[in-house]
């Protein structure tokens, strides 16, 4: 393997890693605030992808408008799922919530199959072309993906650390009862968390289409699981952890492909999950769960 092909694979890894990171953020933020592994999160991406497809293929909307529409629909869908499926279970055991999330995921996947059919819907690439950088061929799609993701992550970091809403989200995720005693509205803060997570997933779905321009009903499931693993690797509940985990999983996959073991890509990622759960269950940046005394 030449050095330039290694760099090329590294850039590929950053590109898919960006998408994983954006999706992982949604997993991690929702887990942080209501301790739910929202397995329907990946399917939001699928819905976003179909929105882009139909907006462009059926309604001939300009791509930029299709993108905005996809992000909007994803955000609304995420908040709606939270309101309809999760809010009524706020004081239910966490297992009920988890099973509900899996149910919502099935509903979205099978609903999509019913509505849009099981065949894949292919799009023309939204960002095409490439350029040479020191002997390495870099696609514009990769550049757009990485740049957009980094901007989204910086914006999220500022939002969570500097704004009143962001601080309220951190307060709720640390101690729901104490946060309410500050006058923070749980419903509003939790909805906001879902909105932001789904907004990022919407962006993720568009960026995913830049790399793989097709939509299928189950496309969100493997992507969702990879992003979930990224969130666990980074430390679920941790925002910088989700970012690092996403990039790490993306780069790892690309490197596995670089040594011509593409077929083992998924297996390696799941192996990472097993290793993390065995040896560092809190993840790279996760907080150790403290026993209350």
């Amino acid at each position: 393997m030449t050095f330039s092909s290694l760099i090329a694979q590294f850039i590929n890894g950053l590109q898919t890693g960006s998408v994983y990171a954006l999706v992982a953020l949604g997993y991690s933020m929702v887990y942080g605030i209501i301790k739910l592994l929202n397995f329907a999160h990946g399917d939001i991406i699928m819905v976003g992808a179909y929105v882009v497809y139909y907006a462009i293929a059926s309604f001939a909307l300009p791509p930029m408008l299709a993108v905005i529409l996809a992000v909007l629909v994803s955000t609304l869908l995420g908040v709606t799922v939270e309101k309809v499926a999760y809010t009524p279970l706020r004081s239910a055991p966490r297992l009920s919530l988890l099973i509900t999330a899996i149910g919502v995921s099935f509903l979205l996947e099978n609903g999509a199959q019913l509505l849009f059919g099981a065949d894949k819907k292919s799009l023309d690439p939204m960002v095409s072309g490439s350029f040479q950088l020191g002997g390495v061929n870099v696609s514009y799609a990769a550049v757009v993906t990485i740049v957009v993701s980094v901007i989204a992550m910086v914006a999220l970091t500022i939002l969570v650390n500097k704004t009143k809403m962001g601080k309220a989200m951190r307060a709720v995720s640390e101690d729901m009862g104490a946060a309410q005693l500050m006058g923070i509205s749980l419903n509003r803060t939790i909805s906001m968390t879902f909105a932001i997570g789904s907004f990022l997933a919407g962006i993720g779905s568009v960026l995913y289409l830049c790399a793989y321009p097709q939509a299928t009903p189950t496309m969100g499931s493997m992507l969702g699981i990879k992003a979930f693993i990224a969130a666990v690797l980074g430390g679920i509940g941790s925002i910088p952890g989700a970012m690092i985990g996403g990039f790490a999983i993306g780069i790892l996959e690309a490197l596995v492909a670089a040594v011509h073991l593409s077929m083992w890509k998924d297996a390696v990622v799941f192996l990472i999950l097993i290793i993390v759960l065995l040896f560092k269950p809190a993840g790279l940046l996760g907080k150790k769960t403290q026993e209350k005394v």
């Binding site: 601080k167 309220a168 307060a171 640390e174 009862g177 104490a178 309410q180 005693l181 500050m182």
Partner: protein, 236 residues
């Protein structure tokens, strides 16, 4: 001195356990009122019910003339009734400043600075530690932060749940001094304490709770010399 809080016949259950039975009491403006009693007497349950974290099956709770019994905890805070919960429950992962900002969540940004100055005047230690993470503070500092955080909401009534719990004797004295200062400055305070002696010595009025019921009430200065109270709660 008008009535500010009026608790009428509340009954609170944890599943099948009847934790609070027919409790009624009042707090008037400018008073320190204390609820004393042993562990499990229902003191914290009463405060948690007033602040909206728990619900009473019966009766009503009126704050400044309005019923708050069905209100969410965040709305109750907006109305000016603020609680410092048992065990302080500051945000351990946030800085001192961020904790105080959370306390002022219901208030416009333009008023926060002034309140910060007031809190720092009362608790100079917090100013020294302004950028420190809550989890790294000592127990006494955490209690100061919890109280400062509540004051940031500019409460019309502040409820303190076991503020002296787990603190060294010197710090207990300090916390009670601060409560007295707050009272002098015009705050209305509802205090729950296991440290009955200290609580009675600063309270205008007191209610004694036993297994979820009020068994006695009166002026703090009278109860502190009541032989039955002395024997049961003051260790004398």
């Amino acid at each position: 001195m008008g009535n500010i809080l009026s608790v009428k016949d509340i009954n609170v259950y944890y599943g099948a356990i009847h934790a609070v039975t027919d409790i009624s009491f009042d707090v008037n403006e400018g008073e320190i009122v204390t609820l004393i009693g042993a562990n499990g007497a229902g003191k914290s349950t009463t405060l948690n019910t007033i602040s909206g974290l728990l619900r009473s099956k019966t009766g009503d709770i009126e704050f400044m003339g309005n019923s708050i019994a069905k209100m969410g905890p965040n709305k109750i805070v907006q109305n000016g009734l603020v609680m410092v919960p048992e065990g302080r429950r500051i945000f351990l992962g946030m800085t001192v400043l961020e904790n105080l900002e959370m306390g002022a969540y219901t208030r416009p940004n333009s008023e926060i600075k002034e309140s910060l100055e007031q809190v720092f005047e009362l608790f100079p230690r917090l100013k020294e530690r302004i950028h420190q993470i809550g989890g790294t503070l000592s127990g006494g500092e955490q209690q100061m932060l919890a109280m400062g955080r509540a004051l940031m909401a500019k409460p019309k009534l502040i409820m303190l749940d076991e503020p002296s719990m787990g603190l060294a004797p010197l710090l207990v004295d300090l916390i009670f001094e601060i409560i007295k200062d707050l009272h002098k400055a015009g705050s209305t305070i509802l205090l729950v304490e296991q440290n009955a002696k200290a609580a009675l010595s600063i309270a205008d009025r007191a209610y004694v709770l036993e297994t979820g019921k009020i068994v006695k009430s009166g002026k703090g200065s009278e109860l502190i010399s009541d032989p039955v109270i002395k024997k049961a709660y003051l260790g004398a």
